[in-house]
Structure formats: structure tokens, C-alpha cells
């Protein structure tokens, strides 16, 4: 089965006055239709930049320096703005943490949906309106509120409208960047359930970007953990949580409070993330790694394929073809 999205050795750098920030520095990634990948990382990991670069939304002074992005088999790496606009919103959609990024404050939400639909599809206004009300119903917005303006809705409802806009044209892939981070825990749960439902009914692929590993575990089929611009572990979700092979994965999971455990011993990872302008030569996690060895300091670790769909970027597993 052809992959929905394949990313090969992608590098995205920001050219700032202080230096060149290597935000995404050699990322290999793939996902299939209908899959949900949880892209997890802390601040500075590059996860948002990765999400934006798929849609070529990386703002200057950022730039895609090298690598390939293949969507549905097409190499979209070199596509210009004009071509990207054809797929943005219609084949690949993106939703963000701040709902007001996507919502026009001066447009009634139904209007906005209708416009979005008619920009990409040649159908009548009446038909588009019908589609719009179906969408609003799907995301849980009561029909009597379709004539309201964004500011009249709560945060959770605005995110629902954002989803409606994003899936209006039945895209193959939806990218959600810290989509629920500004929401309270109960609303977050509701939105997550909604996304799961819609993902299935629309048969969409979903890249769920978040710093919250617990949250991601609720929705992801596979987890891609990023650190300092690189993916360090890429595994099916249940395997990730039970194995967590990369030392960073282990450290991260040990620092997350688990409400189901009593007497949990919470720990932290000593040190700080590296400077992305001058990243270290070898493994970027080496300075904070409890298992680091000399080779880790000198050379960049390879992306080891443990199993068909399980990859770890670590010398500890180099040469090993199983999980022992």
C-alpha cells in the first residue's frame, strides 16, 4: 500500500541574525492512509516546524533546505505557492492551538464554511450551505448558532468550527498543531473524541502534534518522538509505551505524572536541550543521557530499524534486529 505521506531526510533551517537555527535536521517519516501519528516533542524539538513544512507554511526566515516530501506519491517538495494552494485545505488541512488563527472574526461561521467550500468546489451557494450545516452538525455545533460570529463562541466550540473548516473538503490528511493545548481537560477530552470519530468517518490521516505524551496516547496509532530537530523514536503506540527504547523516551515517560499510579516516583531529565544553532556533533541527547558512551559523543547515531515499523535513533540498538 502506497504511503499517504513520506518525508525523506528533511532539513528546515531558520536564518536568523544570531545564527542559523537548525529546527528540523534530518527527519525521516512516513504514514499510511487513515493512520494517526502522534508527533511529540518539547519546546524546540522542531515538531511545529515539521508540521508547517508539510504544507509549506514555514515563514521566512525559515526555509526548507533539503530533503523530500511525498504526498500520495507526488513529490511536493518543489511545488510553488500556486500549486500548494490547490492542496491546502482540500487535500491537506491544518488546525492550530489558537482557533482565531483560522476563523475570520468578521464572518459568520456558516458564511465562512460556505466560502471555503466554494473556493475549491464549483457548486451552488445553496448546496454549499447544505454541506455547511451538515458539517456543523457533525462537529457538534447546534444549527441555531450557524449565524453567529466566532467571538460569540467558547474556546472549545471555536476549535470545533476550526475542525469543520478543515474537513469541509474531505482532505486526506489533517495536521493538528497543539490543537487542544489551550482547552480545559474536559473540553479537551470532548474534542479528542470528536476527532477520533471524524477521522474514522472521513478516513483521514491525522498528524497530532503535541508536547503532552499522555494526551497523544489517547489518540495515536503510532508515536514519533522528536528531540532537537530529529525523530529519535518512531513506533506503534502501545509498543512505544511499553518499550520506550530511546533514553529520551524513557526519561520523558518517567517525568510525566500518571494519575493512575499511587506512589509514583517522578523524575526529570537533567540538563537542557542543545543549542540548535550549534548542535553537538554526535548524538544530540548525549549530554543528558544516562547511557551515553564515547561513540555517542563523536558520531551521529543511525536510525536503526528494530522491526518493520519500529525505528530508534540510538547506538544502543545498532546491530540489533529485535527488541531485546
Amino acid at each position: 500500500m502506497k504511503n499517504l505521506l513520506t518525508i525523506k531526510d528533511l532539513r528546515v533551517y531558520y536564518y536568523l541574525r544570531e545564527g542559523t537555527v537548525r529546527a528540523v535536521d534530518g527527519v525521516n517519516f512516513f504514514m499510511k492512509r487513515g493512520e494517526t501519528v502522534g508527533l511529540v516533542g518539547e519546546s524546540g524539538s522542531g515538531k511545529s516546524t515539521l508540521g508547517l513544512s508539510i504544507l509549506k507554511l514555514v515563514a521566512s526566515p525559515g526555509k526548507i533546505v533539503s530533503g523530500k516530501i511525498l504526498f500520495n506519491g507526488n513529490d511536493i517538495t518543489g511545488w510553488n505557492e500556486k500549486k500548494m494552494r490547490l492542496i491546502r485545505g482540500s487535500r491537506i488541512s491544518m488546525v492550530f492551538q489558537d482557533p482565531m488563527t483560522s476563523l475570520n472574526p468578521l464572518m459568520r461561521i456558516e458564511e465562512h464554511l460556505v466560502e471555503t467550500i466554494r473556493t475549491h468546489q464549483k457548486i451552488s451557494k445553496a448546496e454549499a450551505k447544505k454541506k455547511a450545516s451538515l458539517l456543523l452538525n457533525e462537529v457538534g455545533i447546534p444549527p441555531e448558532r450557524s449565524g453567529d460570529y466566532p467571538h460569540q463562541f467558547s474556546g472549545g466550540m471555536r476549535q470545533r468550527i476550526g475542525i469543520a473548516l478543515a474537513i469541509a473538503l474531505n482532505p486526506d490528511l489533517l495536521i493538528a498543531d497543539e490543537f487542544t493545548s489551550s482547552l480545559d481537560v474536559i473540553v479537551q477530552f470532548q474534542i479528542l473524541s470528536l476527532m477520533k470519530k471524524l477521522k474514522a468517518s472521513h478516513r483521514m490521516g491525522l498528524i497530532f502534534i503535541s508536547h503532552d505524551i499522555s494526551l497523544v496516547s489517547e489518540i495515536a496509532d503510532r508515536i514519533a518522538l522528536m528531540y532537537a530537530g530529529q525523530i529519535v523514536e518512531f513506533a506503534p503506540a502501545d509498543v512505544f509505551f511499553s518499550e520506550h527504547l530511546h533514553p529520551y523516551s524513557e526519561g520523558l515517560l518517567n517525568s510525566v505524572p500518571n494519575i493512575e499510579l499511587s506512589d509514583q516516583k517522578l523524575s526529570y531529565i537533567p540538563g537542557m536541550p542543545p543549542d540548535l544553532v550549534h548542535p553537538p556533533e554526535g548524538c544530540r541527547f548525549y549530554p543528558r543521557c544516562p547511557y551515553g558512551e564515547d561513540i555517542c559523543k563523536r558520531k551521529e547515531p543511525p536510525l536503526v530499524q528494530i522491526e518493520k515499523e519500529y525505528m530508534v535513533k540510538c547506538f544502543r540498538y545498532d546491530g540489533k534486529k529485535s527488541r531485546t
Binding site: 480545559d184 509505551f241 520523558l252 494519575i259 537542557m272
Partner: protein
């Protein structure tokens, strides 16, 4: 209407009550434009905190938990007297500090301090770390010059900012978020307070570094026999660090008790919903989904009676008309709900 002053006899026997809050209320008038005021006439209020009462004993970590808009941050501001209550009383070590001013208020600040949520905004960008940390000493006339510098360097080392001499001269923008938060902690601790309100102290810190801050806070607590009021929206963190927990909803306390009690046997429907919604890093776990209707209503026009009744799956007629008061349901466990 019953007065809901809440006393815990058994609790008071064990440890001294450090902080007591009685029927605390804070209503903020809604800002309206001239025209709006002209047209509507009446003044509306954001009922941020609506008659809450609780006690915090010396040496304990009191977790104040709730979603945004529940009034927990306002409560924190009230306890530290950064704002004045609309009604109610605040007692610190038995003394009524509700409306103290001037010198008395300044004295009070030596005992009760606060750590804020946002380490990027709580430090004066134009003040060097050493100066900022030592400023409380200067203000209260405790130390100046060399003596002050020595105390500051000691404190910076204590919070893990080493070498202290280096950090002394830096500006906040040269520090990471986690480091800045440690400066904020140093600044709060340098006066040797007895009660510290921590308002979401780790929510803006990277996940892998949060436990470091918590560890620091717990270490300081042990060393100095501190009492914390720990405000957070994250129940998992509250579970980790608190001894007692109060769950707030729309300005009121709906459930309060010893941590173990709250998590093993939650009573209030809101608490149960909250617990079921919290993500757990375990994809294999069976999830019990409590479908809660709607969203948090506005605190300007809150629901009558029990404020939670509009979303509750077990609501009865009584709930709409009569506000439930906190009742004891177990040892060290109180709930405000008509179900019990």
C-alpha cells in the same frame, strides 16, 4: 440559609491551622463602555469566588484544583492579599488579615509569598537576577550591601543556579524558563516565608524539567517546614504533590478532602468527570467516559442553586433551587452535592 463555616475537629487536633478562609467572596464589576452603562443601568459582576471556606494546616501542601475560570487563581491572589475580598474573612495564624493595610500588610508579606505561573513575565526584564532576588531584603530593611549579596548568593545556590556569582549579574532574558522560575522561587523564599502560594508554577515549564522544580519546592518545604497552597488545573500533578485537595467549579468548592480520599472515592459528579477526562500515558487502558453535557457557564450569570446542575447527569429539582453546602461524607472528605 445555613452558614457554611467548615471546621475539621479531627484535623485541628493533629496540626495547627496556618491559614483559614471563611465565606470568601470576590466579585469583579464588569467593565462596560459608557453607552452600555447608559443603556442597561445595572452593574454586572464576574462572580469569581463565591463564598468558599477551607483550612490549611502547617506543613501541608493544599492543592487547589479546577479548570480555567473556577476562581482558583483569584483565591490565590486573595490569600496573598494582592487583592481585597468583596466579603468574607482570611485568617493567618489566627490573626484576621482580611483588610490589613500599610505596615501590617508589609509585615504580612514576610510570612506569605507567591510564585507565579509565567516565569517569562514575573521578573522585571531590567533587573539583574541578583538585584531582583535581593530586592525583598532591601524593601524590608533586612539586609543591604555585602550582607545582602551574601544572602542572595546563598539562595541562588540553594535553588540550583550555580555558579551563583555568574547568575547574579545576568538579566532574565539570558535565562531559560526553568531557570527563571527558580529565580522566582528564590525571590519568594529569601524572606523565609511560612506560607507560599504557588500558582501553576510548572505549567509553563517543559515536561521533562517539571519534576526538577517540584523537587526543589518539596526540598524547601522539608527544610523550612513550609506550607504550600498549590494551584493547578492538572489533577495528576495535584495528586503527586498535595496532601489535601479542594476541587473548585465556577467559584465554589465542590469537593475537598485528603488526597487519597479524593482519588480513591470521588463523590462529586464533577470530580468524577474530571478524573475520567484526564489522559493517561497508557494506550491499552480501558477508558470510562463520563459524557458531560455542554461547557462551563459564564461566571457573570452563573446557574442558580448548585452551579453544576446544568451539566450534571444526576440533577434533581432540588439542585436548581438550593445550593448544597459542604457535608462530611467520609473521614477527611467533604462534598457539596444534594446526592449525599
Amino acid at each position: 440559609m445555613k452558614k457554611s463555616i467548615w471546621l475539621s475537629v479531627s484535623g485541628m487536633m493533629e496540626r495547627k491551622v496556618e491559614l483559614k478562609v471563611v465565606n470568601l467572596k470576590k466579585y469583579f464589576p464588569v467593565q462596560k463602555s459608557f453607552l452600555e452603562r447608559l443603556l442597561s443601568g445595572k452593574i454586572e459582576y464576574v462572580q469569581a469566588v463565591n463564598r468558599i471556606s477551607f483550612e490549611v494546616r502547617k506543613g501541608e501542601v493544599f492543592g487547589l484544583v479546577g479548570e480555567s475560570g473556577c476562581g482558583k487563581t483569584t483565591t490565590g491572589r486573595l490569600i496573598t492579599r494582592l487583592i481585597e475580598p468583596t466579603e468574607g474573612k482570611i485568617f493567618f495564624k489566627g490573626e484576621d488579615v482580611t483588610f490589613i493595610q500599610g505596615e501590617r500588610l508589609r509585615e504580612f508579606r514576610k510570612y506569605v509569598q507567591i510564585i507565579f505561573q509565567n516565569p517569562y513575565a514575573s521578573l522585571n526584564p531590567r533587573m539583574r537576577i541578583g538585584e531582583a532576588t535581593g530586592h525583598p531584603l532591601e524593601i524590608h530593611g533586612i539586609a543591604t550591601g555585602e550582607k545582602k549579596k551574601k544572602m542572595v548568593l546563598e539562595m541562588l545556590e540553594k535553588v540550583g543556579l550555580e555558579p551563583a556569582k555568574k547568575f547574579y549579574d545576568l538579566y532574565p532574558f539570558e535565562l531559560s524558563g526553568g531557570q527563571r522560575q527558580r529565580v522566582a522561587i528564590a525571590r519568594a523564599m529569601i524572606l523565609n516565608p511560612e506560607l507560599v502560594v504557588a500558582d501553576e508554577p510548572i505549567s509553563m515549564i517543559d515536561v521533562s524539567l517539571r519534576a526538577k522544580i517540584l523537587e526543589l519546592m518539596l526540598m524547601l518545604k522539608e527544610e523550612r517546614n513550609l506550607t504550600y497552597v498549590f494551584i493547578t488545573h492538572d489533577l495528576a500533578v495535584a495528586k503527586y504533590i498535595s496532601d489535601w485537595i479542594a476541587i473548585m467549579y465556577l467559584g465554589e468548592i465542590v469537593e475537598i478532602g485528603r488526597k487519597e480520599q479524593i482519588f480513591s472515592t470521588p463523590y462529586h459528579p464533577y470530580t468524577k468527570a474530571l478524573l475520567s477526562a484526564i489522559p493517561v500515558p497508557d494506550p491499552k487502558r480501558e477508558k470510562k467516559d463520563i459524557k458531560l453535557k455542554g461547557e462551563v457557564p459564564s461566571s457573570i450569570n452563573p446557574p442558580s442553586g448548585c452551579r453544576f446542575h446544568t451539566r450534571c447527569n444526576f440533577t434533581k429539582d432540588k439542585c436548581q433551587n438550593l445550593k448544597p453546602s459542604l457535608k462530611m461524607v467520609d473521614k477527611d472528605h467533604y462534598v457539596a452535592c444534594h446526592l449525599y
